[in-house]
Symmetry: C2
């Protein structure tokens, strides 16, 4: 049996490197996916996830996260959680609850406090200053690049266990209480040990119309490779949604099947990180190719 | 072109009857689905939806609702919204927003207030007294029957437009901020004018693992009848989830395709209401039959 981990955006390289060491050492995939995501949550250099993330329209950092277990299909998720160092850890804990496994806003805050998760003011002085400057300029999120970069990861361990994790502060200047794709089953993530794990990053408002992780999982179940499944699901969806609604946001997906094969598709310039027993942690960049295919190259760092 | 509406639980009979008159008169399906659901939201006799709904563990009524447009695939949703007479109306309004279309908790409350939606104390004296009695008895939701009866409806108008709507107060004694399936795209509802609409009711914690509305939509897209698609999706899923996790909650789905054909599947005793240009508003009861089929009879009222 092989092992592997794949995660969205170059920012996850350090976390994936740590997680890959754990997987190589035989640690379970649930631990590895949490490790990869917590590294990004902790790093104030990345302003779309966790500490140092961009605040909402009211100047508050509200975070979304989810965790899924591909064996039991158990899910834990939080949306609009505040002042918690590691939303992914709260989501993982919630995945053990038979009821009340997805919590929003102050309900998520109360749960995290009661269960002893580390409190932390997630708004850095830099992001507070940036927010203030944008408000004075009457800026909208459209003026700020790269403001929907969720860290979304899938890990597979030696024992064939798949887990997914997602974490984000969502779009800049989002409305209070806005729910993106990151905490939404089927739209932001899905995994099944018998098939694959699939996660997304991009504009949640559009991703929740496509249910790409669930759809790609079904295509792989029917025999498609992860790459073919990503291509077949993503490109017709983004074209169709543009045709129907006149606009389409960024949409990127990565998939990792139970054998460690992976795939990617995107309608934007997208970087991601892969590590397997065959491949040292490597950053790739992907973009849409011709005829519903994806062009993938190793990124020059 | 035909018209039709299908909605979960006998409680929706009066609302479906009003909505059917609208559809017969040529009114758009988005209006009809809202009419059907608002009728249930207003009625204090139904203690799982809207006014008179069961409160959460803290004694507060928190409501979930969603609206989907099968033409544009636009979605509006709220979770853990408070003191609003018609959550479905707020969800419908949110479906017109390009960003921030799904709002949670106090963020949803603020949006509803800013947009002038009718405020209302949704906790009736009867439900407050019932809650107090249950708390004194240290009751859990397991002691109270029928506490996850979401009103979920699909309507089709003469012009072939499909819409879905859902509304619920969720499970009794739920945690503050708990998100059920009703507001979750793909898990609680999905619709596409080119195919069908599908909605669920049951235990959200399990429904969000199955993505049944999206899956059933895909099966109908591939040529299955709504009934065959419901049977093929629901029964293997509930059996598989029970096998994997050792427990399974109530799961019921109804589907209505673009031609007005409908289907249903359930692992519990389930009632639903149908009206079409061929059928006066009628309450049916369904239960699981042998060999992954569904037994459907007209209900004796």
């Amino acid at each position: 049996m092989t092992w592997g981990i794949i995660s969205t955006w170059q920012m996850s390289l350090a976390g994936v490197t740590k997680a890959a060491e754990q997987l190589r050492d035989g640690r379970p995939s649930g631990d590895a996916v949490q490790t990869a995501i917590e590294d990004v949550e902790s790093n104030p250099a990345f302003n779309t996830v966790g500490y140092g993330g961009l605040p909402n329209a009211e100047g508050a950092v509200e975070m979304d996260a989810a965790f899924m277990n591909g064996d039991t299909l158990s899910i834990g998720a939080v949306t609009a959680i505040h002042d918690i160092a590691h939303p992914i850890a709260v989501a993982r804990n919630l995945s053990h609850e038979q009821l009340n496994n997805f919590l929003a806003g102050s309900g998520a805050d109360v749960y995290a406090q009661r269960h002893g998760f580390t409190s932390k003011n997630m708004l850095t002085p830099e992001m507070q200053a940036f927010w203030g400057k944008q408000v004075r300029k009457n800026a909208t999120r459209h003026d700020v690049l790269n403001t929907h970069d969720t860290v979304s990861a899938i890990s597979l361990d030696y024992r064939g266990r798949l887990h997914t994790g997602t974490s984000t502060t969502g779009i800049f200047m989002k409305a209070k209480g806005r729910v993106g794709d990151a905490p939404l089953p089927g739209a932001g993530f899905y995994c099944d040990n018998q098939v694959a794990g699939v996660v997304t990053t991009g504009l949640g408002e559009d991703l929740m119309k496509g249910m790409l992780p669930f759809k790609i999982n079904e295509l792989i179940r029917s025999g498609a490779t992860p790459q073919a499944a990503c291509d077949q699901a993503v490109y017709p969806f983004v074209d169709e949604l543009y045709h129907r609604s006149g606009h389409i946001g960024a949409v990127s997906v990565v998939a990792l099947d139970k054998e460690g094969n992976w795939g990617v598709a995107t309608n934007t310039e997208f970087t991601f990180v892969v590590a397997t027993d065959q491949l040292e942690p490597t950053v790739f960049k992907a973009e849409r190719g011709s005829h519903n295919t994806t062009t993938i190259d190793e990124a020059r760092l």
